[in-house]
């Protein structure tokens, strides 16, 4: 296994949440790899720091008044949700207007996305707006979350996060892999990555 694949699993290793087989595999690698040993040490230190955080417990009065507070807020919000009909009409108008605007924005954004020149599928849903450097956008490689969040939806970012793992031929475990396969078309993503790499070379 490559170091990158090992390092993805070091948090699970530290939490003792791996299968015995995976644990043994990582343990054997750690015995011979100083770079992964250092990574593990950093993870252990981070969790050690996090464990030093102070805890907080509200006073008894808060807990005594908790249920009455919930009940009274529930009653209040129930009565405030009984909106008179004219107000409902205005609210309906606002909602309709917002929907029209959202649809317009969606069309505008969709138009800005670049269609990728691929021999198989259009990958527009994963691609950046025109003019951006593609190698800045594969967040698996850049880690520039703010830039990526501007250009990709959360769903696409999930796919990219999974793609990073799956494209390295990394198996979480049998169940996890099957689940990931349900969400991803791995062949499609592999092709995408190949295409992106070609673009970078050019």
């Amino acid at each position: 296994m490559r170091c990158k694949n090992i390092q993805i699993k070091l948090v699970d290793y530290h939490e003792n949440s791996l299968s015995p087989e995976e644990r043994n595999l990582i343990q054997s690698h750690l015995e011979v790899c100083s770079s992964c040993q250092k990574e593990l040490q950093k993870i252990i230190s981070a969790f050690k720091i996090l464990s030093k955080e102070s805890s907080y417990e509200p006073d008894e009065a808060y807990w005594i008044n908790f249920v009455p507070g919930v009940r009274s807020k529930s009653e209040k919000s129930r009565s405030s949700t009984l909106v008179p009909i004219p107000k409902l009409k205005i609210a309906g108008g606002i909602v309709s207007l917002a929907l029209v605007l959202l649809f317009g924005i969606f069309l505008f954004k969709a138009d800005q996305r670049v269609m990728f020149k691929s021999s198989e599928e259009p990958y527009s849903y994963l691609l950046p707006t025109e003019g951006e450097k593609i190698d800045q956008l594969f967040y698996a490689e850049t880690g520039d979350e703010s830039l990526v969040s501007k250009l990709f939806s959360e769903t696409d970012r999930d796919k990219l996060a999974l793609a990073e793992i799956e494209l390295e031929k990394y198996n979480w475990d049998k169940g996890g892999k099957e689940e990931a396969l349900e969400e991803l078309d791995l062949k499609q993503l592999e092709n995408l990555k190949k295409d992106l790499e070609k673009t970078k070379i050019q």
């Binding site: 993805i8 948090v11 699970d12 949440s17 950093k42 993870i43 230190s45 981070a46 720091i49 996090l50 030093k52 955080e53 102070s54 907080y56 509200p58 808060y62 807990w63 908790f66 249920v67 507070g69 919930v70 009940r71 807020k73 529930s74 919000s77 129930r78 949700t81 979350e145 969040s149 959360e154 999930d158 996060a161 999974l162 990073e164 793992i165 799956e166 979480w172 169940g175 996890g176 892999k177 689940e179 990931a180 349900e182 969400e183």
Partner: protein, 191 residues
């Protein structure tokens, strides 16, 4: 069957029964549900928003929202999964809306510092608490939720996947990314 899983099964049965009684019009059953989950929800909300006052309000707000939706709860997931989902979404919306305010408040109060004999230690502890607050609040919303559900609430990946309605692989990827970012943010405190 182990004692732990027997207890868990018994608790799940109790909760299902309470939900059923509430749906049949027994208002008091909801009070019992609140009492069963209030501590866990408060802890979750506090770690999500990193502010005591807001957490105290939002924890109650989560139960108010659940109260209004419980009649439509179809029990496809467990009550706790469903309740956690409500609380997480509430916190994500809140921090999205009030991010700027949260940062200002962090300077003033955030986590309390346990009074010790050494003022220097107190100060160091305060700085550490603030650094952790900032680091956690800096995480993208979903990564923050995954990290908190896993690290503080100690939920299994599969359960977190149900709460956030994502695959287990996505949750693992998010958790890995969150720890990676926290490690970078807290590097200055590491020995």
């Amino acid at each position: 069957m182990s004692n732990k899983s027997e207890n868990q099964k018994m608790n799940e049965e109790t909760v299902r029964e309470l939900v059923r009684r509430f749906k049949h019009g027994e208002e008091k059953a909801y009070n019992e549900l609140v009492n069963l989950y209030k501590q866990r929800i408060f802890n979750l909300v506090l770690k999500m928003v990193r502010n005591r006052e807001d957490a105290m309000d939002l924890a109650q707000e989560a139960f108010v929202k659940a109260y209004h939706s419980l009649k439509d709860f179809r029990e496809e997931a467990s009550f706790s999964t469903w309740l956690y989902r409500i609380a997480v979404n509430l916190c994500l919306n809140f921090t999205q809306r009030d991010k700027f305010r949260s940062f200002i408040l962090l300077e003033e109060m955030t986590q309390p510092v346990l009074s010790s004999d050494s003022p220097l230690k107190d100060l160091e502890q305060k700085e550490l608490n603030q650094a952790i607050d900032r680091a956690v609040l800096d995480l993208p919303g979903k990564q923050r939720a995954v990290f908190i559900l896993r690290h503080y609430q100690e939920l299994p990946h599969a359960e977190i996947a149900k709460i956030l309605d994502k695959s287990e692989g996505t949750i693992k990827a998010n958790y890995f990314q969150a720890v990676k970012k926290l490690r970078k943010s807290l590097a200055g405190f590491m020995e």
